[in-house]
Each structure stands twice: as C-alpha cells, then as structure tokens.
C-alpha cells in the first residue's frame, strides 16, 4: 500500500498536496480506496464553494458503501476533477494521481502543517488495521 512522503494526511484518510501557490490538491488515500472497493460515483462541490476543515465536502460511493469526504483544510474550492464523473474508478486505479478530487485555495497559509505526514499516517493506518 502506497503512502507518498510528500503528502499530508487526515485521520479520515484524505490526502492533501501543497501546490506551492496557496492551493492544495485533495483526494483519498490508497488505504481508503482499498477499503471502499470499486468506486462508482463521486459527488463533489461546485467550484467556488467554501469548505471548513473537518467538514463534509462531498461523497464517494462504492458498490459496497457510501462514505463522506472531509476537507483537510479550510478554504475555497478552485477546481474539481470533472474526469471522476465519467470515470469514478480512477479513485481506485490512481488514488494519489488521476483520482484527485478537488483543489482548495487554502485560507490559512500554515494549515497543512497541522496534518499528519507520511510517517504519522502510516502509524495511523497500522492502528486502524488492528
């Protein structure tokens, strides 16, 4: 299971990548997609929507279950991955790449620093598995 070291992570299995321009890209982790099983539908907010850290911003549905998506940081949605409308399975095949979900204009510059790094997330996943 992949846990890239250049990303930040939430306890709810979202990842966030600092794009260096005041925005971050957000998706769900490899661990998340494996637990979800085949993703069949992703519901994302409209561009311009304000999101709060830890609050629901969308929904990902697999054959097995429905799961809420929680924003890693507060800010405004500046892009959504339209490709997921037609190909929701990208979340399974490329969780950290083409399966990205939204890009957020971050409200507080240091918000990402409050999230787990790869090592912290690895320990979190190991704890969740036991």
């Amino acid at each position: 299971m992949a846990i890239p070291s250049n990303l930040r992570y939430t306890h709810d299995h979202e990842w966030a990548r600092d794009e260096g321009d005041g925005t971050c890209t957000v998706g769900v982790t490899d661990f998340a997609q494996e637990n979800l099983g085949g993703v069949v539908y992703v519901e994302l907010p409209a561009v311009g929507t304000a999101v709060k850290a830890g609050a629901r911003f969308g929904t990902v549905e697999s054959t097995k279950s429905v799961s809420e998506l929680y924003a890693p940081v507060a800010g405004r949605v500046v892009a959504v991955n339209e490709a997921l409308q037609g190909e929701p399975e990208l979340v399974n095949s490329d969780a950290f790449g083409q399966g990205w979900m939204v890009r957020i204009q971050v409200e507080a510059a240091d918000a990402l620093a409050g999230l787990m790094d790869g090592t912290g997330y690895e320990a979190h996943v190991a704890a969740a598995a036991h």
């Binding site: 979800l36 085949g38 539908y41 519901e43």
Partner: protein
C-alpha cells in the same frame, strides 16, 4: 473518508474458516455477531461478484443457523411452522419457506431440507437463529424433537456456472447434475458432506454442510482445484449484491416481523391453503384474497447516484415508500434498488424517484430479476 469500523472485537464469533479468510486477505467486519469477510484484498466486491456470475465463487456461510427436527411427527411439526408445503418433499428434497408469526408477519426466511422421513434440517439466518429456535419450541406440540445444532455445522456455498465442474473434482457424488432443491451425501476426505443444490445468488451451484473440522480442508481443496476454473473466495459484500440483483429478500432489509411474504414477492413459497394450514396462514389467506397494500419492487435509477437502504421513494414529489436495499449493480453497471411502494405504483414502467440525500433522482420500476444468470457449464 469515514473510518472503517473496528474489527478486533473479541466478543464476536469466528467461523471455522476465520484463519483462512485472514490468510486470503479477507477484510473482516462484524456481521450478525460474527467476524466475516466483507471482501478480499486484491480482489474486491466487484471482482468477486463477477467471478461468481461468470465462473465460480466460494462463500463461507458457516454463521447460518442449523436446526434439526428429528423423530416421529417431525414432518407434521415442520409443516405447521413453515409457509411452504413440506409434505410435498421426498427424502433428499428441499424448499425455501418463511417462518411466520400468528399475525402473518415474518419471523425469518429459511431453507427446509428433508434428509429422511421425520428428519429435517432447517437452515436459518445467523441473526435470527436464537429467535427462530425459541419460536419453534414455543409453538411446537413436541418441542423435544427440535435441536439447535448451529455449532455442529460449517457451511460453504459454491456458486456459479463452473460450480458443478469444480465440485466434481473435489467431492464427486449424486448431487452434481441434479435440479435445484435437492440434497445428497457426498464423501470427502474420510467424512460425509451434505451437498444441496441450493443457494442465494441466482446461480446454479451448491451449499455444502460439513463438520467444522472439515471446513478448512474443503475450502482450500476447492480453491486449489478451481484455479483454472476462475474460482474466487467471495465476501459478504458480493453475497449481498448477488442476491439483490435477483430480487431475493434479505431478512432485516426486505423481510421483518411486520412484513409478510406476499408483500416481499415470495408468494410462490406460501401455501396457506395446504392441509391444516400453518401458524399465520389465516391472516395470510386474507392478504392473498385482497392483495397486499404494498409490494416490493425493483427500481433502476435513470439519474446518477447510488440508492441505499432507508432512502425515501417519491411519487410526484411525495414520499410513498422506502428503499430496503440498494447498490450499483456490478453486472448491469447501473444503480438499482429494492423498495416497498404502494401496490398501485408497483407495475414495471412506473416512473418514481429516490431521494438521495436530499436530491430526487429519477427511477423506474423494473421486473425481477435484474439479471438472468448463465446456465451451468457442461461437465468435462
């Protein structure tokens, strides 16, 4: 994403195949008080579902309850308790039936196997085994002939068009090639298996009852022998989507204490006019005469989204019923649901909507089953 539920709950029961599931990467969850695999790593619900429809799937269903009714008068006792007509069964025959309350609601749905004259095996849902046994003993004329033997049986279902080919390699015997709803004894590894041509996936195949200490050897023998037949272990997730695609009711979703078999569209398993009737047959005769006020229907969403249990069903913007089970059908690649709606809105083609978290999504009533399984592949 929401965190998966904790799985290390020591109070949960384990089937004899628990270690096998862990070794195969089973993602273990709580189900009806048991540790069960919901899907297997590296496969997943959709792959497991499709393997069952196109090849053959192995299911651990050892959590199911087994009740033996044995002794003089066993047939009459069973026939008074269940909705189908057990007097029509010969030795080695089986039928699906409901166990009903006196008011006509459903205690459980079950399979009845006549092993011999006056020896019956009743297979019930894990979550209901204790309730069913209490209901039987309370209502029986000879309660002493009922025994809850759930701990003495493991059960493995082998389902799909390659099921007969696979079983013939591992435990050949009389059941292979028989029509549905038969049960025979096969030999395996120095012991006996009860092999039934039953199942709950819609596929041809078998449900095999064995001693708990045989289960792991049988499971791995089937997996090893079936590699070239496309065999896959299958978790509870795909077990649910497979039965949903057939429109088969699941107790707790489509059936409960206050739902009757006519509403749930299993009238074919109801024989309220049989000699002597059964517990609950009087109110059920009235339902039969008048027709049920609400009916279970299949719905296909024509909008995007995935229907789930408890979502309201709308007609012209007004709530008229509720989804009982819903998913994205792996076979059809479409969102489908089972739902209760008023009888006058149950005809195929009726346009309805499902409230998916506040958004009405267009849906249409479609006939059961959602999919038609392939025939069994010929034996080589």
């Amino acid at each position: 994403m929401d965190n998966p539920p904790p799985v290390n709950a020591p109070e949960l029961q384990r089937t004899p195949l628990f270690d096998a599931h862990v070794r195969l990467g089973g993602q273990m969850v709580e189900f009806a008080g048991w540790h069960m695999p919901v899907q297997y790593q590296g496969r997943g619900l959709v792959a497991e579902h499709l393997a069952t429809r196109s090849a053959v799937g192995l299911f651990d269903v050892s959590h199911m309850g087994e009740i033996i009714v044995q002794g003089p008068g066993a047939e009459a006792e069973v026939n008074r308790l269940v909705s189908n007509d057990v007097s029509k069964l010969g030795d080695g025959d089986a039928c699906y039936a409901l166990l009903c309350h006196a008011h006509g609601g459903t205690v459980d749905d079950l399979y009845v196997y006549r092993l011999e004259a006056d020896r019956f095996l009743l297979v019930v849902n894990a979550s209901n085994a204790a309730k069913d046994f209490a209901h039987m003993v309370q209502n029986a004329r000879h309660p002493g002939i009922f025994a809850n033997r759930s701990g003495d049986f493991a059960q493995i279902a082998v389902q799909g068009p390659n099921a007969a080919r696979l079983l013939r390699r591992v435990a050949p015997g009389e059941a292979i090639g028989l029509p549905r709803n038969r049960v025979r004894v096969h030999a395996f590894d120095g012991g006996d298996l009860l092999v039934a041509t039953t199942g709950y996936t819609g596929e041809s195949g078998f449900e095999i009852y064995c001693a708990p200490d045989q289960a792991e050897r049988l499971w791995f023998a089937l997996l090893d022998a079936g590699a070239d037949l496309g065999v896959s272990p299958v978790g509870l997730g795909a077990r649910d989507t497979l039965r949903l695609e057939m429109g088969y009711p699941l107790y707790g979703n489509e059936l409960d204490d206050h739902t009757n078999g006519y509403e749930a569209r299993v009238g074919w398993a109801m024989r309220p006019k049989k000699a002597g009737g059964f517990i609950g047959s009087d109110p059920l005769l009235q339902v039969l005469a008048q027709g049920p006020a609400r009916k279970l229907v299949g719905l296909e969403l024509t909008d995007r989204g995935v229907p789930r249990a408890e979502y309201p069903v709308l007609h012209q913007g007004q709530p008229v019923g509720k989804v009982t089970s819903g998913t994205h059908s792996p076979s059809l690649k479409k969102p489908v649901a089972l739902a209760y709606v008023p009888a006058d809105l149950s005809a195929p083609g009726t346009p309805l909507a499902i409230d998916v978290r506040g958004q009405p999504k267009a849906a249409v009533v479609v006939p059961f089953p959602f999919v038609t399984p392939l025939p069994s592949n010929p034996l080589d």
